[in-house]
């Protein structure tokens, strides 16, 4: 019932999700889940079928399994990227960081290791769709553009932050998204609401978490001999401003 209502409510703009997965049972389950969550799912069992579906349909997001018969998910990801910017989420039985990096470097937008819960999958899909919509409006970075600020270096593709002395600095998903949000609007005041919106990707219970906590954690990780306070300045009653200039390479 609830699912049905949601479907109706979402109907006019139901995003089209293409599932490329060779396991029939998993495919069916994903179809069912996505339909119930108000998406319009399509499916393909392998690369050739995926190509046929893409020819005849306009797709909003692709869920792409890595281990496929014939050309594997990485190959397919690369070939899709050549032609379009459609968001891609890789699904893999190898929850292996190397695979994750390869996927992200090939232009995938996200990488989910199996098994995953319904909640997790839906949250990720929604976040990516939201980000994709934002992309068409703002100039959020894509691909391999490096972002450099105050000696720090951020690689959005590999989701890596390097400190001025070249050390890899571990960030949580939410911290990374928040930093990315700051970097996409540098030297402009950003309200808390907007920040929450922009970095919700990784936050499952956004309401429980305050942006302020995230900002203070980020400050600590960006702290270099007193410089951090200047990087993320609080604008009382409004939000925050990222003070440094951001250079893209």
């Amino acid at each position: 019932m609830i699912a049905l209502q949601r479907e109706i409510a979402a109907a006019p703009v139901a995003p089209v999700v293409l599932i490329v997965e060779d396991d029939p049972a998993l495919r069916t389950l994903l179809m069912r889940l996505l339909r119930e969550e108000g998406f319009q799912p399509l499916s393909a069992a392998h690369g050739a079928e995926m190509a046929r579906v893409l020819e005849t349909n306009s797709v909003d997001i692709i869920l792409l399994d890595v281990m496929l018969p014939g050309s594997n998910g990485f190959d397919l990801c690369r070939s899709v990227r050549r032609e379009s910017d459609v968001p891609i989420v890789m699904l893999s039985a190898r929850d292996d960081e190397t695979d994750r990096l390869i996927g992200l470097e090939l232009g995938a937008d996200d990488y989910i290791g199996k098994p995953f819960s319904q909640k997790e999958l839906i949250a990720r899909i929604r976040a990516i769709l939201r980000r994709a919509q934002g992309n068409t409006q703002s100039s959020q970075p894509r691909g391999h553009q490096q972002m450099v600020f105050a000696g720090w270096q951020l690689d959005p593709g590999r989701r890596e932050l390097l400190s001025p002395d070249g050390a890899f600095v571990d960030l949580s998903g939410a911290e990374f998204d928040l930093l990315l949000a700051f970097l996409s609007s540098p030297q402009r005041v950003i309200g808390r609401e907007r920040l929450l919106e922009m970095s919700r990707a990784r936050i499952s219970d956004a309401s429980d978490r305050s942006i302020d906590v995230l900002v203070s954690r980020l400050r600590r990780k960006l702290a270099v001999s007193g410089q951090a306070e200047a990087l993320l300045r609080t604008v009382r009653g409004v939000g925050y401003i990222f003070t440094a200039a951001v250079e893209r390479r």
Partner: protein
Amino acid sequence: MKPLRLWPQRLVGQVTLVLMLAVALEFVGSSILFENSRLYPNRDNQVRRAAEQLVTAEAILETRPEHERAARAAGLSARPNEIGWTALPTLVDRERAAERKLKDQFRDAEPSLVRRELRMNTETDHALPRDTHLKVALKMRDGSWVWMKTKIRAAPWAVVLSSFGSAFILGLGVIAAAALVLRNLSRPLRALAEAADKVGQGERMRVAETGAGDLKLVAKAFNAMQDRIAGLLQTRTEALAAVGHDLRTPLARLSLRAGFVQDAAAREALEADVDEMTAMLDSLLAYLGGQEDPEPPRRTDIAAIAMTLVDDATDSEREAAYDGPEHLPVHARPLSLKRAISNLVENALHYGGEARLSLVRDGRLVILAVEDSGPGIPEDELAHVLEPFHRLDSARARNTAGLGLGLTIVQQILKREGGELVLRNRPEGGLRAEVRLPAL
């Protein structure tokens, strides 16, 4: 025709040959030594010779007229003996035991001296080898005196001692030489023992196939055995890893199906089961795949990793804290390092209810300590908890998730980064796990 081989091929032959050579060397050496020692006359011989010389000198001087005697006597002198002639006695006889004994010896050696008047005076050196300086005078038949000064070497025991010393040094030399040769012979054996030890700890090590024929065979067999074991392990590992990966698809189905279960309690239980199985698979695959992790080591901020893990824990409402600098770089594989520290934090939260992380740089070491206030680990178990698939007592295993690989993986990861894991119980209760890495 086979060339004649002087060096035996088998260990027994080689050892025998070395022993034979050693014995021969000792034999030759000691023969030379004893030959030498015969050149040193013993004391009796010296006394006899002195007596003989005295008698001979008298006989010669007796044939000369008195005015020629002094010159003739001087002519008879030959180092170390000095012979002279005087008309009147110049020597006072000292009637001590030493003199009496020497006189007897003189008379034993030369019976012609038996009823003659002899005067003697001896002095023995205080320093070794305690030679005796002897002055002896003989009254000739016409009442004049022939005298002789000589040195009697206190040879016998000194010579014996010195030849014993030589024999001893020779023996030592021969033994050392033989030991050196045997050491060389047994080098392949020691290499084999070392290799066996290392292989026992899971390392692979080729043994050089050198040395005696039979040792070469052992080395060859050992290497072949290693290859077989490695092959076997490889096959098993691959099979296990493949099963691990394949299990993820049915687990993914199960996880999705769980979401459709209406009964909330049943759904949550199902999801928890899936999570537990996933955690087991993850740790198994991390353990199996640890050796061939392609991630390259790089400059990594260990402080940031600790902070992320602590924040993750507090976000899920568990008690965790971090105390330390904001940045501290080490050289490591960041994702493996994070997995290692995460395992320690999870352990602390699970058994100790809290995780307190502290990071310090201590000289050439970076030490990240993870402390809890749980029951710790019984002292006799501390050494075993690092073994794969080892879990603490069954009572506790009941609520233990995982396969007992957590700490094994931590140690495996840290070893690869040139560091180590140190576990110890805190005196105030709880466990302290230290990640030790070389500082940059």
